[in-house]
Amino acid sequence: MAENGIGARVRRKEDARFLVGKSTYTDDINRPGQAHAVFVRSPHAHATIKKVDISKALKAPGVVAVLTGANMLADKVNGLPAGWQIHSKDGSPMNEPPHIPLAPDKARYVGDHIAVVIAETRNQARDAAELVDVSYEPLKAVVNVAEADKGGAPQVHDQAPGNLCYDWHLGDKAAVDAALAKAAHVVKLDLVNNRLVPNAIEPRAGIGEYDAATDRYTLYTSSQNPHVIRLLMGAFVLGIPEHKLRVVSPDVGGGFGSKIFHYAEEAVLTWAAKKVGRPVKWTAERSESFLCDAHGRDHATHVELALDKDHKFTALKVSTKAAMGAYLSTFAPAIPTWLYGTLLAGVYTTPAVYVETKALFTNTSAVDAYRGAGRPEACYLLERVVERAAWQLGIDPVELRRKNVIPASAMPYQTPVALQYDCGDFGKNLNDAAKVVDWAGFAKRREESKKRGQLRGIGISHYIEACGIAPSAVVGALGGRAGLYESAEVRFHPTGSVTVFTGSHPHGQSNETTFAQIVADKLGIPIENVEIVHGDTDRIPFGMGTYGSRSLAVGGSALVKAIDKVIAKGKKIAAHQLEASEADIEFKDGVFRVAGTDKQKAIGEIALSAYVPHNFPHETTEPGLDESAFYDPKNFTFPSGCHIAEVEVDPETGTTKVLRFVAVDDFGNIINPMIVEGQVHGGITQGIGQALTENCVYDAQSGQLLTGSFMDYCMPKADDVPSFEVSTNVVPCTHNPLGVKGCGEAGTIGAAAAVINALLDALKPLGVKEFDMPASPHRVWQAIQNASRKAAD
């Protein structure tokens, strides 16, 4: 292994700026002459907008402009598009009501954008926003997804009767029903997957800018995929051709999915910049993030698992209601369908699976991808129902899983829900995790806790996910309106250093380091001589961005392809200079050599001669050493793993403490173990957050967001989690050049089920059987009281 190459724990290049306060997040940027925007947002969950009176606001000090939905309609601004079309069971396309960035006639959730006030300073804009007088006629609201399709529920969109976006399904229903009918055991559960707020610590921010001289727009935005924003906003919303629109996403302070989507504010800032003739800047306050960032999860599910007399799973039937929120966010339709239903075979041999998802509009912020996106919901319900089966049948949960796990020898494995797993050793993940946690010794630890009056429990989550999204042809066949390849350009400079332009967009994932390791390793040059550039549509050929654990599996593969082209061209040049045939040139550790001789040229010499082409194969080869590649994945990648949590519950207070958390994950080959571990730690904590502390709640009557700040929405803090015991089990991906699978979402996908299974294990002696997240002390205490009351009856 090269010192800073693939597999090394290289310290991060990006830290040099982050640690000294010299990073550049969007809010750190100020443009000459900029004005500041503040949005007027609906205080009602659902209301007809009667009138927007801006006269007082316009007269306030410093105000430059006040713009409303009427201005947008006059300018023929279009709605924000959904990037994915789902079809219902009956073949009809989903309902896609328009989403004009500033609502012209109706507010559909608390926080909906009504107007924008632009002023010299942020405080002036804020003061003037108070003076915008909006007359509303409030309407009844529906915020709970389980209620949204009931007769008489308020209608979020007239175009979507019954609040239905789509009613989708996947799998063989007849086979599943038949298996359920003749099953020896059927295990049933009703589950709520609680709504979450992603809460990247950097709030979203943007600056729109327009240059009349060149008729060009620039948008700085805290986004995970600037090219996608350029495409969606330019082509669909504002009608700006790509060559006249530049989107820059500089340093981004976390995303977790919430910064994938094209948001109303981005379009408003860009549009307003031209109208007022000045750059317009906006930075969300945290309260705005709570109201308007796309949320995650929010499912209500009924699941039934059929088992035969030998405890083999014979069928799984899942029925889910999934909230879309008030409007369709960019990827929203794909999440509770293709990123969810397809994962319901999990790591098990269940021969028949059927899933139906009703996607429903509610008077809430949109729901879209949040770390894991569909896969945590799938894993949670599967691992909950498997654990319940073990309990109901009185067998060891490890044994039940072992009995049903897909063996490594069965790879490649075709599931009954579309996916084909290329590789993986799920049984080993399970066995390794059970060993690390000392499964056999748990009874003793439980006794020891009992002596202290504490209830100890242990819980497993045995997951698989589909990452490295995704083969474009598959995506297209499933209703995706984009391709999901990635691009990379490797530019050798004359004196031997390299700049890589990648369409991936790191916002914590450390690509500046891992991608540089790949270059250093493959081209044999010092890592210091490699720079990774990302996040600017004027500099990067193209890009689909970072989400779905795709940076390395797709973006890294594109990088390898571009590197291969550099090497191939280098061989031509070397062959010419070394007077050998191209086929005889080998490349290793940065040196081109005529095989079996000591005739050689270092790659730096080749690069120089590519730019000073005096002695050069001009007949066959162009000068320069600058190669681009696009990579379209052949399949999804399938990271898998087993997570085991051990918790202790204080029955007096309901407090749940995670004492241990063991993760054994298979991410395929690993470029930088230090960074992978960090991704897993962060992912696990988000999963534990969902399980124990986080919950997004809207008031059922008023539709107000009750958890609109860090005071009411409990983010996991340092003392809510333990130090983690993480390790990996490497089974290289079979279909991409690095053999990598992706690690960004795994922790979040696995963790929640492990913690809740552990909690239910701890509460078993008290007879608690049902529990929905989060396990806050109050809710746990309540569950204990309810169970003891039931026992007393």
Binding site: D15, L19, T283, R286, G508, G682, A718
Partner: protein
């Protein structure tokens, strides 16, 4: 109305006319261009804005600039000396204590406050101390390791 606010930031005397209602964090970011101090919330909970005023750690989103009138203020930009990272910064680098980097300045400033009062903090003391700092990326594991290592490098056991 604008008033003139002066203080010593990272050893340098500074002065700027600002609105009375200006928060210290905006004074640092907007008037001095010291954008290393971040704003992550509007309810004083995330700790992305922590700086030292008069040697004490303070959430700069929660004090007015005028309250720091005349005081010495240290921000993340003031820690590294002569191009050399402070041992606590170095420990964060060495232990991968940051991912997106947004919480990091506040974490480092808060860590230094802990170590000042407790040169050799235990894991649970570190975790407890961080109750006012939220990180969404790291899961805290490596932040805790970084702070323990930083404390050691600064002379603790």
């Amino acid at each position: 109305m604008a008033i003139s606010v002066s203080m010593t930031v990272n050893g340098k005397a500074v002065s700027a006319p600002v609105e009375e209602r200006t928060l210290l964090v905006h004074y640092l970011r907007d008037h001095l261009g010291l954008t290393g101090t971040h704003v992550g919330c509007d309810t004083s909970q995330c700790g992305a804005c922590v700086v030292h005023v008069d040697g004490k750690s303070v959430k700069s989103c929660t004090v007015l600039a005028v309250q720091a009138q005349g005081a010495p203020v240290t921000t993340i930009e003031g820690l590294a000396k002569d191009g050399k990272l402070h041992p606590m910064q170095e420990a964060f680098r060495e232990n991968h204590g940051l991912q997106c980097g947004f919480c990091t300045p506040g974490m480092v400033m808060s860590a230094l406050d802990l170590v000042k009062n407790n040169p050799s903090p235990s894991e649970s003391e570190i975790r407890h101390h961080l109750e006012g700092n939220i990180c969404r990326c790291t899961g805290y594991h490596n932040i805790v390791k970084s702070i323990a290592a930083g404390a050691k490098a600064m002379g603790g056991r």
